[in-house]
Symmetry: C2
Subunit: 350 residues, 2 copies
């Protein structure tokens, strides 16, 4: 089995994605290809020995082989422009944030018929927006924190009281996020968030909330779950901390929680996951408040695929590959055009 | 100004899309290119003289020039594999249904930096699903008919009473849609709809409901609206009728309605359109029940761009082109990787 790790992208999390791919390289035991999408959206085939952060920061990757997306795969131009196909069984979408999680990569791969691990278009769009994630959770009957969505024209809060957390609606990372303790600080926090997005979501900020992360996917064996982790967090996971988080290569401690809570988290995860997220290995971050499970966010391309939450990550991947959703093939047979031509014999659309 | 009409696609509305492009060819006065996406998603440059339905039904298009999507445009391979770019100012997305309206084409063009008239990714995904359209309308404070969403595992209705209309959640056309007058007919209608989609939406069927269509877009002049049309419909717009509908080349009669209703429709349209549908010329189909405006559906790629609703369609297009949304450019400068390399001097990610 050969997996192609796709990373980079035109995204605020471009650098984190590089770290994510370098980390996964040390974890995965199968044969690997490395496909880098630079900030201008050129694709390059990166040799394994060049998979170091400096190779990208220095721009050395530009000497590597250019790849082009075509039907059924990535090709490179060989002798006299003859194109050859890069050989792999599936791509792992490790582009975090824009491009990777907003539906673009899913669209490219579905359109060009390339098997991939990652969220499909609808799953991407719904989990990429924090407001749409709320709607998704609500339709799966999972609670979330109360919220208000603001726009540059409508910056007034109606119901929520301080302290608050202010977030751009569409960014995956912690960029543009502020905790606001009083009305005086709100305007500045909104300015910061609107610098990144034209939609901003505001929620109550609850310090020391109990938080649990759970990863999983639908595999050939049915739903499979990781251990539950209680992440050790500062108030806000800032970019530096997140950066280190994405490079975790060891396994983490399982949270000490009751079986009842664990099953509740499994159930909530399944309700959110099925069927929209099939094909993706997803991490859901939950809050538990007064014994009630609330969804915080869905990470449809978690850092280094959240491998550190699984006891046998390398065995899971082939089972996930067997369960990738298939596109409904639509048969185009020109029945209508042919019937109109035959029956009516009209000139106009012949 | 040169526009490239993109049509075809892996879609149940593939043939309708061909009709849509042939029709628009006779309407648009600017220079045109024709890009056909066949059912296997190969792109072809179609000469103007070959823009006849038979050219596609016969498979003759396969002798035309193959096009490839690359950064900044469509290219073709010339002498010794040298690639040349197809010259146009913008693409008009005329792929109806899947591919064109589900977010794939929007993703391709955003990723490859190709200017286009059509819905962007989020707008596509939300208007492509009838359930998500309901959520979108609700957040814009526009009413819709009550509904229930069913899945293959959950086929029981809870609240609605007969007669009902049963529709696949995701198809643009009338395929798989049934009117159901009694419980006995429901199972069959659900079987039909589930043959096309794994999500089905059921609504009350209201015969002889007042229906009004309104098209519009944000242009360099602000919001611009078409006339309001009261479509002459049979109970259900079947595929044959829709086929003819997409080939309309004349202009239609304006509905005789009060200024109050007209302004109400304008307001509802704007609330739904802004800012998500910017870049697209959209047609919204509204119901009016007891003097209340309800959204029925949003067509983000209406047949032949609903040109027949506009008094000067050819003048509108350049104004729309001037108002196409620009992508927020993200600057990737490797600050984090560089700061880690400099400050920590660690070996691991160098």
């Amino acid at each position: 089995m050969t997996l192609a790790l796709l990373f980079g992208g035109q995204s605020y999390e471009h650098e984190i994605s590089i770290v994510s791919a370098i980390t996964l390289k040390t974890v995965l035991t199968c044969k690997l290809e490395f496909i880098f999408c630079d900030k201008d959206r050129n694709f390059y085939q990166i040799p394994e020995k060049s998979m170091k952060a400096s190779h990208f920061a220095n721009g050395d990757y530009r000497k590597d082989r250019l790849l082009y997306l075509e039907k059924d795969g990535f090709v490179f131009h060989g002798f006299l422009g003859k194109s050859k196909k890069l050989d792999f069984d599936a791509v792992v979408n490790l582009i975090h944030g824009a491009d990777g999680e907003d539906g673009k990569i899913a669209s490219l791969f579905e359109f060009f018929n390339i098997p991939f691990i990652g969220p499909r278009i609808e799953a991407s769009v719904l989990s990429y927006s924090k407001t749409l994630t709320k709607a998704l959770a609500s339709s799966a009957k999972i609670e979330t924190l109360p919220f208000e969505t603001l726009t540059p024209d409508q910056r007034l809060l109606k119901k929520l009281s301080y302290p608050l957390i202010v977030k751009p609606d569409h960014l995956g990372s912690s960029i543009g996020v502020s905790i606001v303790r009083s009305k005086e600080d709100l305007e500045y926090a909104l300015d910061v968030a609107f610098a990144f997005d034209n939609k901003v979501i505001v929620e109550p900020f609850i310090s020391a909330v109990k938080e649990y992360n759970l990863a999983g996917c639908l595999s050939a064996n049915g739903m499979e779950f990781s251990i539950v982790e209680a992440p050790q967090k500062k108030e806000l996971l800032d970019f530096d901390k997140k950066y280190l988080d994405f490079s975790r290569s060891g396994q983490v401690q399982e949270a000490k929680i009751s079986d009842e809570l664990k099953n509740g988290l499994y159930e909530a995860f399944s309700a959110l996951y099925k069927p929209m997220f099939e094909g993706a290995l997803v991490r859901c971050d939950f809050f538990v408040i007064d014994d009630k499970i609330l969804l915080n966010e869905i990470n449809p391309c978690p850092g280094s695929l959240a491998h550190y939450l699984f006891s046998d990550f390398n065995a899971l991947i082939p089972r996930l590959l067997k369960a990738l959703p298939k596109e409904r093939k639509i048969n185009v047979e020109y029945n209508y055009i042919n019937s109109i031509r035959q029956a009516k014999g009209k000139a106009s659309y012949r």
